[in-house]
């Protein structure tokens, strides 16, 4: 039983990493288009079509499909609450990856905020 739990934890970490990679590819594709959208439906649809022509978006999409398959398996084994509390670590992955890969400036406030959120999610999910 204990071994099974470790395996599930490992799978949740993998889904978190896959999700992070997906977000990175998507964000870098969007950055490469260099547009700041107004929330205008026609422009948004044009934007999404432009985005869909970038291979990076599809690589990210593959990772999210992979993550979804693993996630479905995880959910068939453990509670949604438990899975969510472990998955909250992906906020940390995102902050790290944004800083290292996308060169976003993640200052101490943003780190502190992210850590507060992770702690909060673990508390909310585990009871």
């Amino acid at each position: 039983m204990k071994e099974g739990l470790v395996f599930i934890l490992f799978l949740i970490v993998i889904t978190s990493i896959c999700d992070t990679i997906n977000q990175l590819f998507l964000k870098s594709a969007i950055n490469s288009l260099g547009e700041s959208l107004s929330f205008n439906l026609i422009k948004v649809i044009q934007f999404v079509f432009k985005l869909a022509r970038l291979p990076r978006v599809w690589i990210g999409f593959l990772f999210s499909v992979l993550s979804l398959c693993i996630w479905l398996f995880v959910l068939s084994k453990v509670d949604l609450n438990f899975a969510f509390s472990v998955d909250s670590m992906h906020y940390i992955f995102i902050a790290l990856a944004s800083q290292l890969v996308l060169k976003e400036r993640v200052g101490w406030r943003r780190w502190l905020g992210t850590l507060f959120i992770v702690v909060g999610i673990v508390i909310v999910s585990l009871n």
Binding site: L37, S98, L112, V119, G120, I123
Partner: protein, 138 residues
């Protein structure tokens, strides 16, 4: 130069993607339950599990919602940093309990309030960090 300001409108759209995301998770959980007789020993077992899951209408409803989330999410990301958008999207952890108080008259334990409080502080800090970046760029 790109303006990367966090506005109320963006926060509202983030909250919308969150509500949709919660909905997809419920759909996926429901579809995964149909295939709980899963065994990971063989590839045949995996295919059998997946074909059971994908014959459930809930998985398709979930996927449709994923598509609309993608559209909203990518327009949000064109406006703000990834390391701001993702943490602020955790707002749903606050909204869902609040909604369950208002609509279902559920009681929320002290510990859960504490968790909600932590998330709220986190979201405020992340939002402040986005404003700070804006001013340092000028």
């Amino acid at each position: 130069m790109l303006k990367k300001q966090l506005t109320i409108k963006i926060v509202l759209f983030l909250v919308l993607t969150d509500i949709l995301e919660t909905f997809t998770h419920l759909c996926f959980k429901k579809s995964a339950l149909t295939g709980s007789g899963f065994n990971a020993q063989s590839f045949a077992g995996i295919f059998e599990f997946l074909s059971l899951v994908f014959s459930s209408p809930f998985v398709w409803l979930g996927l449709l919602t994923v598509l609309s989330i993608f559209i909203i999410w990518s327009s949000i990301l064109s406006k703000i940093d990834l390391s701001v958008a993702v943490p602020i999207a955790s707002f749903s952890y606050i909204l869902v309990p609040l909604a369950s108080i208002v609509y279902f008259h559920e009681r929320i334990s002290m510990l859960r309030w504490l968790g909600i409080f932590f998330i709220l502080i986190g979201v405020i800090f992340v939002s402040l960090s986005s404003a700070e970046k804006e001013s340092s760029l000028r």
